[in-house]
């Protein structure tokens, strides 16, 4: 068991923009850290630098108490699970599992003992004589995991191991990997582009974008306190609703569309007179009956029945966020509906509503706005704004 630490790590490919910029990250002993972000964000490059498959342009990577910058992969005592499994096609499952042990000159009977034990635990015991081509995708994935586990390395590295599985299998394997890691207590660095995977599996999640680490935190804190617009829009599905508003009355009021919202105990004095970005999570978008606070009038555009709940698209009067560069590209809000007069001034909110409510498209509806649940962001930089006197939110309207 060992820590993995990145210190000011940078990776540049021949004179182009850096793939990884000044990365500082520590994975504690036995911790499961997920590196997540859109493709091209540098997460795989960072992982491969730990493995020794990429050269480090600047900075240091430590595994345990050794600086590994100049060590060959085989000297680093790490194991890796590849996206395409990288199983040796001409070797049997047994030989695949035993390969790493053979290379380290582990005695034959010890090899057999360990391989059979792991094969048993992973449900591969009957397949030891088969070749990878004869296995299903899920079985191959387990062999890839087994090959890593059987070596008892100082750390596991995983490069999107679930991407090639179908959705149901992915959910199943997610839990299995998490269970195995907890049982073995091996330091694990896991890379994925899927934020659901990241949130469900990681002890901590590191969000990356364009080579820069945005935020590293527990899943819950990432969700509740995103440090900028990118993290806010990346984490959470459906994504956070975002729109622009003006701060008035010396920081105590927010104006958007026809709504004037009193911020109560939260104050944005530093931004008085300026425009900011307001974010609200879909589950905080509530129908206003029984709420005696601020309301926004809106019109239901679409109701998506999920069975367990309803996703309702509500159109309100507000200015949409124009800065596409600040948010996750995949989290673009649904576009304005056809036939709306003032296209620049309407925003579609996604709300998660109880499945028993009767909601019809075209109906007018009132949405409850609780100032305590709003997120605020700087319009220029995307950074989250610390609004003074933020209290823990006890109950919600609706």
């Amino acid at each position: 068991m060992a820590e993995i630490e990145f210190t000011h790590v940078t990776k540049v490919y021949g004179g182009e923009t850096p793939a990884v910029r000044d990365l500082n990250l520590k994975v504690g002993e036995g911790e499961f850290v997920v590196l997540v972000g859109p493709s091209g964000c540098g997460k795989t490059t960072a992982l491969r630098m730990v493995a020794g498959l990429e050269e480090i342009t600047d900075g240091e990577i430590r595994i345990g108490d050794r600086v590994v910058n100049d060590l060959a992969p085989r000297e680093r005592d790490i194991a890796m699970v590849f996206q395409n499994y990288a199983l040796y096609p001409h070797k049997t499952v047994y030989e695949n599992l035993a390969f790493g042990l053979r290379m380290r000159k582990v005695p034959k009977d010890e090899q057999r003992r360990r391989v059979e034990e792991i094969a048993g635990k992973l449900g591969l015991a009957d397949m030891l004589g088969r070749r990878p081509a004869q296995l299903s995708g899920g079985q191959r994935q387990r062999v890839a995991m087994g090959r890593a586990i059987v070596r008892e390395p100082e750390a596991f590295l995983m490069d999107e191991p679930l991407s090639n599985l179908d959705a149901k299998l992915r959910v199943q394997m997610r839990a299995e990997i998490a269970r195995i890691q907890k049982a073995l207590e091996v330091t694990t660095l896991y890379v994925t582009h899927d934020q659901v995977e990241a949130m469900t599996m990681g002890d901590r999640v590191a969000v990356m974008r364009d080579g820069v680490l945005q935020q590293v935190d527990t899943p819950q804190r990432l969700y509740d306190a995103p440090v900028n617009l990118f993290v806010a829009s990346f984490v959470g599905s459906p994504p956070m609703n975002l729109f622009e508003a003006t701060v008035e009355a010396d920081g105590s009021q927010l104006v958007f569309g026809e709504t004037r919202l009193d911020l109560g105990s939260r104050s944005l004095r530093d931004y008085s007179g300026r425009r900011i970005v307001v974010g609200i999570r879909p589950e905080e978008v509530r129908e206003a009956s029984g709420w005696d606070g601020a309301r926004v009038r809106g019109r239901i555009l679409l109701v998506e029945a999920l069975g367990s709940e309803q996703l309702v698209h509500i159109e309100i009067a507000a200015t949409p966020l124009e800065r596409a560069d600040l948010v996750d590209a995949a989290a673009q809000p649904p576009g304005p509906s056809l036939g709306v007069e003032d296209l620049e001034r309407s925003v579609t909110l996604l709300g998660r509503f109880d499945r028993h409510l009767l909601l019809t498209p075209g109906e007018a509806v009132e949405v409850a706005i609780d100032a305590r649940l709003l997120h605020f962001f700087d319009l220029e930089t995307g950074a989250a704004l610390p609004a003074a006197n933020v209290q823990a939110v006890a109950g919600v309207a609706g």
Binding site: L53, A72, R74, Y88, M103
Partner: protein, 317 residues
Amino acid sequence: MASVAESGYIPASRRRRFSRRRVGHAAAPYLLLTPAAAVIGLVLAYPLYLLVKMSFQKYGLFELIRHKGRWVGTANYASIFHDGEFWRVVLRTLVFTAACVSLTMILGTAIALLLLQVSRWVRIALTTGLVLVWAVPVIVAVNIWRWMVDYQFGVANWTLTKLHLGNFVRHDWFANPWTGFGVFTLLIVWGAIPFVTITVYAGLAQVPHELLEAAAIDGARPWAIFREVTLPLLKPIFVILTSLSIIWDFQVFQQIWVMLDSRPSSDYYTMAIYAFHQSFQISEYGLGAAIAVVMVLFMFAATLVYLRQMLRTGEVN
């Protein structure tokens, strides 16, 4: 109300067109194949049959004029199997083939591995050079080498003497069949390396990068990675290349024939030359045919492995 399609009703006129198309359909592939099959049949299959038939016949000048051979059973085979010369030729051909094939495969593979290690522009330069060598026609190559090993003004003699590897002034390389075959081996290996190198290199480039990375992480040193991961994946290619090389090198004829001005001494006979000599120079076409049949049998033995590998790959396609 059911539509026409649903009811399965087909009007009579359309019914007729269907059946004609089905018949035409069945004949189509055979029609398409006929021209190619005819050519191949005429020039390869029939002569092959003729070859075997002739090997059991006496076919000299007299028979040539009459366009008909005289049946003599296995007399031709008996005569060549009892001839010491024949066995010397067989042995010589086998040794020569073994030398050429092993050198070609070893050097060809080594250069392919070298190509993996070098910078991009060096790789392009070396590949282009190899393609250039590959492009040289055999007769042209023979003449180049004839010039290089010329006993008077050839650059080979001068270079070897200059390098103090011995006194090679006015050295006739073909006076001694051992040095003569040495030249032929070099000539043939030189011409054969590009094909092997380029093919092996293409195979090496197809080995999935992740497998090599996984092996490196699993603790394998570079040589172990080559032995455990790369070689097994390259096996089909090696089998094919070796079989092809054996087939081609076993048949060597032109190089020796042209280099020695169509008058090679018997020390230089390979099986192909021996068969040719018997037929076209001594006019014993029957004997030549018998020798040729033995050659073909040798080839098919070597070919069996290649055929099986190609069929297996063809199946996958």
